[in-house]
Amino acid sequence: MNSKETILANIKNANRPNITKLPNIDILHVEYEDKDEKFSQTLKSVGGVASWLENDSSIEEFIEKNYDDLGLIGTNLDLNITHIKPNDIDDPHALKDIDLAIIKGEFAVAENGAVWVKESDNTNRAIYFIAKKLLIIIEKNNIVNTMHEAYKKIKFEKSGFGLFISGPSKTADIEQALVIGAHGAMECRVLFV
């Protein structure tokens, strides 16, 4: 027997009775009166910032106003600012000097300040983690209450990589002192447009 067969045989020999049904997940979960406000608060509590674009303003104007020292921008979005496209680059190591990554988020989750990111056409995953700062763009009102609603919207049919990002990277490994900026982004802003 090879190892797979041995392991599966051991499991079958353990002879667990099949009596517990897989539960339907219909938990009456929390719903927030003002999801925007809850998301904004939660994101703040995990070190991030949520902003809403004013109606007559553009993403480019927002960036100009909110980032003093722009540096190198990396984005696959069509924006009218100087940037490099991660999709045009073969070697992800070449992204190492990106200061600001601008990416597209699908929707936000009010209960935990997370944003679901799944750019099926992005070929360089490293962009999410390697940049110093992260700006996630989401369409207004795309906020769900909890992870239950979130996972109903998630599919992996077209492409297999996706992630929730909740604020900037952080660690508390030195004496439980929270430090923002571990290996990933040191700053994370979510912009609703």
Binding site: N2, S3, K4, T6, I7, L8, N10, I11, N13, A14, N15, R16, T20, K21, L22, P23, I25, I27, L28, V30, V46, P92, H93, K96, V109, E111, N112, G113, N124, R125, A126, Y128, F129, I130, T146, M147, H148, Y151, I154, F156, S159, G160, F161, G162, L163, F164, S166, S169, K170, T171, D173, I174, E175, Q176, A177, V179, G181, A182, H183, G184
Partner: protein, 456 residues
């Protein structure tokens, strides 16, 4: 080390009283953060109930789900390997690395690879292994093991970390500012990430239905590692399986809240395919887990999602530190897993417990931790592993319990005689219990006597 057993190792840790209290408080702080998060959700108990049912169901049908997972994962272009024990796991990983001429590995947290002692094995075979989680990197530089599964360096003060970084990363002398040290580690590890040939991560959840895995981190280390070099190896125990994608809603809601009191981890990354032009391998490991599956008493310990909540709340862990357990995983969950794994080696662990049940109470997947430790104790006695002195004491207690009349007489004598004895006898070196404790004042009457009087 473990030959000394928990009491002796705990004594060593507790001999520095100030540091022990500091450790206790640091862990309790995390427990309190957890409480704030869990109390903010009305549905918390319902989530635990549901998580328990999903895990119970999965363990009852584990072979089915593992095979479904393998099938779907292969369809997604990910390679799957099976390892029945630690040795086979280590060889599989080395073999994959050697086939790719990879000699520089960046690793994120994986208790499974600690359990298999993967690092020393790879290093012996010429692979440079860099642990990239900050806490793990700190203990790796100090040639120590993690003392906690979520907070690997919780036993260290910032001054200790400062000294370690001074030596290895050449940071400023006597600078132990956590932000400064974290930045230094970020720079140091950035180099390692960029120079690596392969990455290895653990697995938080393996989804059978969709054939993918989820890795949760706050630092982004697993994520950065798995997106720079072309080769990604993920190692998982057979118990990491969950049936459906929607089950993740339950587990992502309870994991970080229980672990560190955060609403969710910073990154919850789903891998269902290798990166562009890359390769992804998953190693599924048994290493004694199917043995636990066959034991009804300890089966539920396989439901554990490694949040560490039981460790943070445990009054024994908080005052004895991770190294006192002498096992890869400390605390209540480590005590039951360690005893299941090798009871002869770890027979003191089920006694590193006051049976207060706080662990069971906070466990997000309802592992019956304190009940398992109570059952392990009985196994220890049955196997004749118990300390002779303890065994004698238990035998005497059993004798009196079985003879109520003698118990009453004995109690009466003790109530009269004990208060008359000098301290040097009552608190002699043989009374270990009385080392840091005072006996209560002896009452005039026993409970039984008082109860009878009342009834009349």
């Amino acid at each position: 080390m473990s030959e000394l057993g928990h009491p002796r190792l705990a004594q060593k840790f507790a001999s520095d009283t100030k540091r022990m209290h500091w450790h206790d408080k640091a862990l309790w702080f995390v427990r309190e953060k957890r409480d704030v998060q869990t109390h903010s959700l009305d549905e918390w108990e319902e989530l635990r109930e549901c998580a328990d049912k999903i895990k119970t169901h999965t363990l009852e049908n584990l072979a089915f789900y593992l095979e479904e997972f393998e099938r779907n994962t292969r369809e997604n272009g990910i390679e799957v390997h099976w390892a029945k024990d630690a040795d086979e796991h280590n060889k599989i990983v080395l073999d994959i690395l050697q086939k790719h001429d990879a000699s520089k590995l960046v690793k994120s947290k994986s208790m499974l690879t600690e359990e298999c002692h993967l690092n020393p094995f790879l290093e012996k075979n010429g692979i440079e292994v860099v642990d990239t989680d900050l806490g793990e990197r700190i203990v790796q530089l100090r040639h120590e093991a993690p003392s906690h599964i979520v907070l690997p360096a919780i036993h260290l003060k910032k001054e200790d970390v400062g000294k370690t970084f001074e030596e290895f990363l050449h940071t400023q002398k006597d600078n132990s500012d956590p932000t400064y040290l974290t930045r230094a580690a970020r720079e140091h590890l950035r180099e390692k990430f960029l120079g690596s040939d392969a990455s290895l991560t653990g697995v938080n959840f393996a989804i059978s239905e969709t054939g993918g895995i989820v890795v949760c981190t706050n630092e982004g280390n697993a994520d950065l590692g798995a997106s720079l070099p072309k080769l990604h190896i993920a190692c998982m125990g057979i118990e990491k399986i969950i049936p459906r994608l929607e089950d993740l809603a339950i587990f992502t809601r309870v994991l970080a809240r229980s672990a560190t009191g955060q609403p969710v981890t910073t990154y919850t990354t789903h891998y269902h395919e290798p990166q562009r032009d890359g390769e992804m391998h998953i190693v599924i490991v048994d290493n004694g887990r199917s043995k636990i599956l066959a034991n009804k008493k300890y089966l539920k310990s396989l439901q554990c999602i490694r949040c560490g909540a039981c460790i943070n709340t445990c009054p024994i862990y908080r005052r004895s530190g991770g190294y006192s357990y002498g096992y890869t995983i400390p605390g209540p969950i480590g005590s039951t897993l360690g005893a299941s794994h090798d009871i002869k080696r770890n027979f003191t662990l089920p006694f590193a417990c006051s049976l207060c049940a706080s662990c069971t109470n906070v466990c997000p997947v309802k592992v019956d931790l304190h009940e398992q430790l109570y059952l392990h104790r009985q196994d220890v006695v049955d196997l004749g592993l118990l300390d002779k002195k303890k065994l004698q004491a238990l035998k005497i207690a059993t004798f009196f319990m079985q003879h109520p009349l003698l118990m009453d007489i004995g109690g009466k004598i003790a109530r009269v005689v004990m208060p008359l004895l000098p301290r040097s006898i009552v608190y002699s070196k043989y009374n270990i219990w009385g080392k840091n404790r005072e006996l209560p004042k002896f009452p005039k009457n026993s409970f039984k006597e008082l109860y009878k009087k009342r009834k009349r």
